[in-house]
Subunit: 146 residues, 2 copies
């Protein structure tokens, strides 16, 4: 009875582990070169994504992946860069099942950034939760491919 | 000969994996509560560190650790929070040997944030590299305890 009270049976958003760190950069070429020299980072994939208004690269640093994002033209990414400069843009977490995670997120009052589910750099299904409900951190959810 | 040219034998800063994500928060109590309800985060350690001008907590979310930092009074942390609001403050990476890593960082022109080596929340030896040379990301190096 008591255990069935407020909050007990609530959905939770189950984040598994960090998939990658998303960094915004003003000059992708320069950043790729600089991370390679400094940290020995290795390029996994690089792609121009016109619809997302960005050119992005996924690099491996140690056991982690870091996504470097350069805005193309005007838009939200460019405004983010202008306001804050180079730095962390988002944090991506692996979830087991993206549809289920988004259902839980909605139930918990989290706002999904339009257009919802899209394809990530590595071809995974991903979606973004608005920083407002996530402690100021733009949070990407990634469903890894089997 | 050619291989011994510029850049070949250069030191590199070897980052192993992400140790934790450091988030700055305006209200630690509220954030702890909110992350627990939303993500099922588990508190590992919480400590008031007057000398660092902060109260901090390390929580576990999935397979990762997240450090929540509330500034105490005025100082750099409070200024950071006032300027940017709640969000990512730093990214901490595991290094094998902190002294060696700091030597490499210095050789690579990276600036260590004073006072240099200090003790982290979990009692590990840690140091911070200035965001200037690290793509705008305040970078903590953590030597895990054996």
């Amino acid at each position: 009875m008591g255990e069935a009270g407020e909050g007990w049976a609530r959905a939770r958003l189950k984040l598994d582990r960090i998939h990658h760190l998303g960094l915004i950069v003003s000059d992708l070429e320069h950043s790729l070169d600089s991370y390679a020299r400094l940290l020995g980072s290795e390029l996994e994939v690089r792609r121009r994504m016109e619809e997302e208004g960005m050119e992005a690269a996924l690099v491996r640093i140690g056991g982690e992946r870091v996504e470097l994002i350069q805005p193309l033209g005007e838009g939200p990414l460019k405004r983010f860069l202008d306001r804050r400069g180079d730095g962390v843009h988002h944090v991506a977490w692996v979830v087991d099942d993206l549809d289920q995670a988004l259902g839980q997120a909605a139930e918990l009052g989290q706002e999904v950034v339009p257009p919802g589910i899209r394809l990530g750099l590595g071809g995974e299904r991903v979606a973004f939760l608005h920083p407002r409900g996530m402690g100021g951190v733009l949070t990407e959810l990634v469903e890894e491919r089997p």
